[in-house]
Amino acid sequence: MQLLLQVLIYGVILGGVYAVMAYGLGLVYGVMRIVNLAHGAVLMLAAYGAWALHARWGIDPLLGATIVVPVSYVLGRVLYRHVVSRVTHGPPMAAMLLLFGVGLCARNLAYLVWTGDDRSIALTYGLSTIDLGVPVPMTRVIVFVVALATTAGLFLVFRYTHFGRAVRAVARDPMAAELAGISVPRMSARAFGAGTALGALGGVLLATLYVVNPEFGGPFLLKSFCIIVLGGMDSMPGILAGALTLGIAETAAGVYGGAAWQDLVSFLLLVVILVARPGGLPSLVRS
């Protein structure tokens, strides 16, 4: 098969991985305009959760997600109510730095509990592939499917459920939402919880693909920024588009430029988009 086509197929599949990684961050920013610098820590802790469930009881991560994700939702809500909400009315940097501090604590916790050793989840289907013209890892295809389902699910939730519309109202104009009878603090806590839960889902899925250690979150955090900036910061379909773009761009850079260029791509894209087109891809479409 022609190399370019292979690049596209692998790039798109990689994009699915990146999408699930970035959703949590996108939701929290989109709704609450908070840059969650603890997002990497969420991914990492969820990944450890999935690993621990598998290592101790043999629970497949996809099943383990049904435990890890709800727990993360609760933890996210609690964190918001008791810690984050106290700084949301001040300067935006305060929330960002506070969450960064939370991330540091989480990393330290991981070192203490699990040490710095590398952990991987050995799945029976971990090496299997599906033939899409080229052999594509089954684990990645699963992740891609989840990414699509999540995009669709989020789109429906935001459009058609009370929760979704309330969240969007709070994002658009908190005071008006309050006047309309929506409890802004409660909605914000739920939104933050949902963002954390999405991040946890991403972490569990990523654990099926990669080796886990306390530094797990770092590279993902930076790529996630790039993706949500590309995606226009608060649009879920935009995030999917951004993730696919990054996936293809990185794969192409790696094949045609050299593996050394792969990482550079996300940073360059991030800075260029922030400076030239802060509205991201959606603003390109709109104009």
Binding site: V35, V83, R86, V87, G90, P91, P92, M93, A94, A95, M96, L97, L98, F100, G101, V102, G103, L104, C105, A106, R107, N108, L109, Y111, L112, G218, L222, F225, C226, V229, A260, D263, L264, F267, L268, L270, V271, L274, V275, P278
Partner: protein
Amino acid sequence: MNANRYALVALVVVLALAPVLIGPRASYFTRLAVIAFLYIASATAWDLVGGLAGQVSFGHAAFFGVGAYVTAILVRAGVPLLVTLVPAAVAAALYALLWGWPCLRLRGPFFAIATIGVGEATRLAALLWEDVTGGATGLTLPIGRTSPLVSYYLALALAMTSIVVAMLVRRSRLGLGLACVREDVDAAESIGIRSGRVQVQALMISAAIVGVAGGIYALYLFYVEPGDVFAFNRSIGLILMAIIGGVNSLWGPPLGAVLFLGLEQVLATWFPSAHLGIYGLLLIVTMLFEPRGLASLVSRRPWSASAGS
């Protein structure tokens, strides 16, 4: 005010004579003090952008590294030591101009994210540009040409310079302009302040100082490599120092720098596997209770006319 002047002068004299006074144990103290002075200089310089201008930079290590590499390359080429620090400052300032001009138009969190990108991209670039930077292996400096004592005095001089520069900037029109921009960009523009220009100026000054700090670091460690001088943790350290000591103040960052260093030493002895968590808790606690910095808890007077960023 006179009592303060004397206290300051006395302090400087003590520090200048300290290596002699301490005697045979001096080399350990000297090494520790070099780091302390470099921290003071860098944190103060960072605060010009992060505190005064209100643009929190997560990528200041980029300037540190640029200065370190420029110095290292020149020293290896045989250039006299003191001379090498000037190109370090210039290179860092030009780099600030290069990415500062487009990025400083972004506000708050967007600028912060952009600086994360720049910091990491610089590190990667240094890793990839093997011919000039030695790549991952880095560059070693010949050890015959300088000593930790020289670095001590250079660092002390830089720390003092940094504080003086910060004081001058805060008192000047540039400082006033930056404070206005920090509070409200549009209002500042409407009264004629060129927000882009003043911010870039602040970034360039800040970068130059941090660049020289990097250069002195190279002379002190005799070894420069990307994972150290461009480390993300280094950028974070600067933010922590300013926050601990008090953002947007003249003496806050220096105090924070010293406290941070002391904290590092204490943690190393008593809680070696907890330093990440302690820094995290410090950030959380500070943001929750006193965003202007812990040091303003010490003095019960306001540290500056306006609150922090």
